[in-house]
């Protein structure tokens, strides 16, 4: 098959992916890696690197307005991003060193676990944090943000910081190893585990992602795993698709889209698992 068919196919697929990702409230990377890894001829090393670049660029694009509007908190993000970036580098190194079938199996299991998490995880708009923990307080992980919907300032603080640092270490490892982005795990960890308000958790997750993915991206770049012919059409497709998705957001029932995304993740995760097992 001619080379040029693949970037065009990638662009078309990632354009659709960008639309669906916004409607379902997930990052592009978490859809890109399992789907492209399962149905395109590229080696998983290049797919993971491209997935990481998609997640990174999306996070970099979103972070300025989130930070400027106070919906992402540097204070909250700095320690978590630090731990996550160390482990994402380790994850990238491990992922590139392991045999492909082992990575495929681990990827399949991870995608199926993400689908389960997305299906089951609850959310709390303003979780109650009666007593902030000592570490969180020492690191200055508290503040106030303006909630435009409530038309008031909301004070926030966090708890369980030591556990959260451990969890973000694990999330970083998976993000670096599979190039998945990590919003699917960052948001529940910030919101349900640490007690950050949901809007702040979503915004801060994007910022943490931009730092964690940057670290892992260098590993892939230095190992020659970043192929522009895969990365750039995918990036443009996801970004343009996300713009259309944002326009459709008001008129599309998100629960229907979310069910479709869950189904796609189960199919793609199952296929990755079977591919890794040689079935």
């Amino acid at each position: 098959m001619e080379w040029w068919i693949w970037p065009i196919a990638l662009f078309a697929l990632t354009f659709l992916m960008g639309i669906v990702a916004v409607l379902a409230g997930v990052g592009g990377g978490v859809l890109f890696v399992p789907i492209v890894g399962a149905f395109f001829p590229f080696h998983l090393d290049f797919v993971r690197a491209a997935g990481l670049m998609i997640a990174l660029t999306s996070a970099l694009s979103a972070a300025p307005s989130l930070l400027a509007n106070g919906l992402a908190s540097l204070r909250l993000a700095l320690p978590l991003a630090l731990v996550g970036s160390v482990t994402s580098v380790l994850g990238a190194l491990i992922g590139l060193a392991l045999p492909t079938d082992v990575v495929q199996i681990a990827l399949g299991l991870t995608i199926l676990a993400i689908a389960l998490l997305m299906w089951r995880a609850g959310r709390a708009d303003h979780p109650e944090v009666a007593h902030p923990d000592a570490l969180g307080a020492a690191l200055g992980m508290h503040g106030v943000y303006h909630d435009a919907a409530l038309r008031r300032d909301v004070a926030w603080q966090v708890h369980r910081t030591p556990v959260a640092l451990f969890v973000f270490g694990g999330i970083g490892l998976l993000a670096g190893m599979f190039g998945l982005g990590a919003g699917w795990a960052n948001v529940p960890a910030l919101n349900l585990l640490m007690g950050a308000p949901l809007k702040l958790a979503v915004g801060t997750s994007g910022f943490v992602l931009s730092v964690v993915d940057t670290s892992a991206a260098w590993v892939y770049l230095n190992r020659g795993a970043v192929l522009p012919m895969i990365v750039v059409p995918s990036l443009i497709g996801v970004i343009l698709g996300a713009k259309i998705g944002a326009r459709l957001l008001r008129i599309t029932p998100s629960h229907v889209v979310k069910k479709i995304v869950l189904t796609v993740l189960v199919v793609a995760g199952g296929r990755a698992l079977l591919k890794g097992l040689g079935i």
Binding site: H43, D45, P64, L74, S85, V89, T214, N222, A225, V226
Partner: protein, 120 residues
């Protein structure tokens, strides 16, 4: 001065520049304005290989070796990727002097980690 606003402003400018360079240099690459190191028609054979075997089979550079191939369409395009991967480091360096002590230390360690990753 609000540290978040400063970070946001620098990040916004850097991302726009990085993305513009990425798209423009992709045009140079895909329309053949500069000859690529790895011929386009060889890609379907090579991108099925793991990264280390791709590098061995194509003679592609690793580490910062791509800087020596900026005259080639495919590695000129990598410049855009590298710019996007550098922005966070620059933003952190910009805000370190503005942060309270504990957070400044965290940000400085983060810079060291990003530099370490870039030169691994």
């Amino acid at each position: 001065m609000n540290v978040q606003i400063v970070y946001a402003r620098w990040l916004d400018i850097g991302t726009r520049i990085g993305f513009a360079v990425l798209v423009a240099t992709f045009g140079v690459y895909v329309f053949g304005l500069l000859e690529p190191l790895v011929p386009l028609h060889d890609l379907p054979r090579l991108w099925t290989l793991p990264a280390d075997r791709y590098v061995a089979a194509s003679g592609a550079p690793t580490g910062w070796g791509w800087l020596g191939f900026l005259g080639r369409g495919d590695y000129l395009n990598v410049l855009g990727v590298a710019l996007l991967a550098t922005i966070t480091l620059v933003c952190y360096a910009r805000i370190v002097p503005l942060l309270p002590r504990v957070q400044a230390v965290l940000a400085a360690i983060q810079i060291a980690i990003l530099l370490g990753a870039a030169f691994l």
